[in-house]
Subunit: 297 residues, 2 copies
């Protein structure tokens, strides 16, 4: 007979009610007990993205608090929406809970999700909870509104475009390395791993400014620049972490020459052909983050 | 050093490409390599629902094929959308893969998701794959279009309304019991557990016909009828599985007296007060399926 989890006495509806109260979101058009949420999509299109975040693969609860994990799970998905030039509006969150999950952990996750959403005016509007046979897992889907803008996609960069970078790169990877090597200090780097700060406003700003293509730098600058249709020639001295570290959710954008927005800085240029060049030298093709490598476990 | 999974040689982008080819869906407005999908929402609203399905909790791969699991994961979410009176349009699918997952399993899941979506004209438009430290897990989010109809919610039934039931109840629960007790035969019941057949068309039909409230019977008829704002008085002889078995995704709908659609049959009436009555007797309050009970493991 399985041991009864601490949250089991609440029952599914009780647990959902507790989390819904915690989220303190404005009530969606359909109630929290309904089978689905009904959301406004005034643009006539909706942008949607989904990501999984698993304990032992993407986070460890001895390195990050439940509040951090909630923030990070929301940030990863909200950043994907912003990278398309859209404004995030809603999250749906599925959570798989191990039997020994405490209510403190559940409350921390809910608070982190809520607080990260509040940065962009979004809210958690639906979800699902199941018991997990292994670690904690969050499945987050984000929805967003293009507000009449054309979506920013990966395909669209043209030779002569300039490459702008919004947000930080390498901070989260450096923070993870500090945790892995049990090095103290550098709390801002460790904090960047625990709670990335994606440049949410940059995507819509750059879409409005006429950007040709954009990508969320979740796999490292070199790997994601290589996803562009044409090559990027970087310039300026960059540290290795800046080039290969993912998880800061920086935004790499190709714009017509001369286009600038406050949130982004010039780091390179698009050329015809393929490959990524740093200071004139081809970048190693194996650089970048592969999600299937053993994670922070 | 972790053993290299059979699908690791494909890399994340290779694996996504293989699955995308397999899904053979019409290309979404944004490409499969993009951070998010862009979907039409002509109604100006979008209906969204999310569900997790975990190996050892909701399914076992010795009882269900990967194709079955794909069908069932899609069906659970598509049914939630239809229960709101909407037509499902898109799925986003997150999959956590154990290291020993074969490509045959991945292909089966993709085929099942695709084939179930094709029953309602929907398509898989986005997703995420991660490695799992335990069993296989699917996180599915479904989106749908109300086509100008008011959403069907749980709240809205009125005394005097009639209760219609669309779809089957008890079949999937009986099928699961057969598998748990290692009983052969009754392939249609076992098939109902492996691949439920939700009455997808009934929700939009009943919304158009002026239904007041509806609920997807995923927790058993008695438990879900109790979720209605007022009580339901059932009539007619029903087997225990029909009353308490979930997972068939039948649709329970409160309609103004006399409203009928071909896909649903009359099973009761809404009265003032609270409680669920079967043949005039109060139903036991503990009846129904609790997702936190040990599942088919």
């Amino acid at each position: 007979m399985a041991r009864r989890p601490p949250w089991a006495e609440l029952g599914e509806f009780g647990l959902i009610g507790r989390v819904v109260d915690r989220l303190a979101a404005p009530p969606p058009p359909a109630g929290p007990g309904d089978d689905a949420a009904v959301l406004d999509a005034p643009d006539g299109r909706v942008v949607a993205s989904t990501d999984l975040l698993a304990e032992g693969v993407h986070f460890r609860l001895d390195w990050s608090s439940p509040l951090d994990v909630g923030h990070r799970a929301a940030a990863a998905n909200l950043a994907d929406i912003a990278a398309m030039g859209a404004v995030p509006t809603a999250l749906l969150v599925g959570v798989a809970l191990p039997p020994d999950t405490t209510l403190e952990v559940i409350d921390g996750l809910a608070d982190g999700l809520r607080d990260e959403c509040s940065l962009v005016g979004a809210a958690v509007v639906g979800g699902d909870t199941i018991r997990s046979v292994a670690g904690l897992l969050l499945a987050v889907t984000a929805l967003g509104d293009l507000q009449g803008r054309a979506p920013l996609t990966r395909a669209g960069a043209r030779p002569g475009d300039e490459l702008l970078l919004a947000g930080r790169t390498g901070w989260a990877a450096a923070g993870l390395a500090l945790l892995q090597h049990r090095l103290d200090g550098f709390s801002e780097l460790v904090g960047a791993h625990r709670r990335p700060r994606p440049p949410y406003a940059a995507g819509p700003q750059l879409a409005t400014a006429g950007a040709h293509a954009a990508i969320d730098v979740s796999d490292g600058l070199l790997a994601d620049a290589g996803q562009e249709v044409v090559a990027a020639a970087g310039h300026g001295a960059l540290l290795d972490w800046e080039l290969t570290g993912g998880d800061d959710h920086a935004l790499l954008v190709a714009v017509p020459a001369g286009v600038r927005v406050p949130a982004a800085r010039l780091i390179g240029r698009v050329q015809a052909g393929s490959g990524v060049f740093v200071d004139g030298h081809p970048a190693a093709p194996t650089a970048g983050h592969d999600h299937f490598r053993p994670g922070p476990g």
